[in-house]
Amino acid sequence: MAATQEEIVAGLAEIVNEIAGIPVEDVQLDKSFTDDLDVDSLSMVEVVVAAEERFDVKIPDEDVKNLKTVGDATDYILKHQG
């Protein structure tokens, strides 16, 4: 069953917490991965791969650079999840 927006944000929060050690509650839709959450370009790849597995979605390399905020990633997953 497809995940809701709320579930996706919660899932991303867990992933970002695991990879970058950022508190779960800091991961909000308007937060920028690089500027607010200390997720650099390489950690972003780890976040993307973990999100792919968790939400059954493919996020190709060329789309990763467009995912600036948690909201961008959430919208992308909502639209593309299997």
């Binding site: 650099d40 370009s41 390489l42 790849v45 780890e46 993307v48 791969v49 390399d61 990763v64």
Partner: protein
């Protein structure tokens, strides 16, 4: 039909000795920062690199190879004249004809050893090792010298903030010879040419010839730039960590080795972040010693695995007889992984 005698080789092959050469000039991040807008902290956090070695004009591909090979031959306890073949993996020897391997074989004092170069980027050591094992077991050479050598400082765009800090120079060599026990496992290797654009040379050498000099890239002082290695960082990182972890696992399975059996992990020293993520993805147990020579050596492509192997043995972090997983991966994209017994 006339009968052809079969060739006769050793039952198995093993790495008998290893040697390395690091150029005398140590280059800290401060020197890199003279030409790019970055910081020591940024470089360390993205790559783990603190210093790298850059070769002087005298520290040529051949000179560094001869130094590293001399140590490997001594470590193996053989004479140069016993070497039947010399395989050199490099992408930074700038004369294609003849192969640099022949000069190295001659300077080492081999007895007309077969000698040739291969081009397999950062997987070059594993490719060479696989060829060497084949030669020893098949019988075309009793001892084979495998050299990975690079002067990547010559192929670095010092004004590119994504790669200026990454590369280093050096040579690593091993002697492969006969063994009564299996000591080099099956190689899991391959290529993914559909991803060729992710690590490549900025432009091809024949651009210098085709006449359109005005279209060639120039540096801040107006000099025409030499070709340099460039990469798509995120794409390479994803492939290196997640696809190469699968290949590493396949190499363990092919050798019948579990992570618990493993003593040492020597991945190509591309980036400490790749190494750390691979260790996590592979779920390697704590007791496995992981090579992180990248910190003071940078990425030396084909030379990185034998250089890291030599250092681990020299510092005592690894010891002779240890079981090590080695995996190289890079431009091509190409990869090669195998399990070896350390010399």
């Amino acid at each position: 039909m006339a009968k052809i005698k079969p060739s006769k080789g050793a039952p198995y092959a093993r790495i008998l000795g290893v040697g390395g050469y690091r150029p005398t000039r140590v280059v800290p991040n401060e020197v890199i920062l003279e030409k790019i807008d970055s910081s020591d902290e940024w470089i360390r956090s993205r790559s783990g690199i603190e210093t790298r070695h850059w070769a002087s004009p005298e520290e040529t591909v051949a000179a560094m190879s001869v130094e590293a090979s001399g140590k490997a031959i001594a470590d193996a306890g053989i004479e140069a004249a016993q070497i039947g073949a010399v395989v050199v993996s490099t992408v930074s020897h700038f004369s294609q004809t003849p192969a640099i391997a022949t000069e190295i074989a001659d300077r080492l004092g081999t007895d007309k050893a077969a000698a040739f170069d291969i081009s397999a980027g950062c997987a070059g050591f594993g490719y060479g090792l696989t060829l060497a094992k084949g030669m020893v077991v098949e019988g075309s050479a009793e001892y084979v010298l495998v050299i990975g050598v690079e002067r990547l400082s010559d192929l670095t765009d010092l004004e590119d903030r994504a790669t200026a800090f990454l590369f280093g120079d050096g040579a690593g060599a091993v002697v492969v010879g006969p063994s009564t026990e299996p000591a080099i496992g099956p190689t899991v290797w391959g290529s993914e040419g559909d991803k060729a654009q992710t690590i490549k040379q900025t432009f091809s050498w024949d651009r210098f010839r085709s006449g359109a000099v005005s279209e060639l890239p120039v540096d801040s002082e107006g000099n025409i730039k030499f070709p340099a290695i460039t990469q798509e960082g995120q794409a390479v990182f994803r492939w290196a960590v997640f696809e190469m972890a699968k290949v590493a696992q396949q190499a363990l399975d092919a050798a019948g080795i579990t992570p618990d059996d493993l003593d040492v992990f020597i991945p190509h020293q591309a980036n400490v972040r790749i190494i750390d993520s691979m260790v996590k993805t592979l779920k390697l147990p704590e007791h496995v010693t992981v090579a992180r020579d990248i910190r003071t050596t940078g990425n030396t492509s084909a030379a990185s695995i034998p250089l890291a192997m030599e250092r681990l043995l020299a510092t005592g972090e690894a010891k002779s007889g240890d079981t090590a997983l080695v995996i190289g991966f890079g431009a091509g994209l190409v990869y090669a992984a195998t399990v070896v017994t350390l010399p």
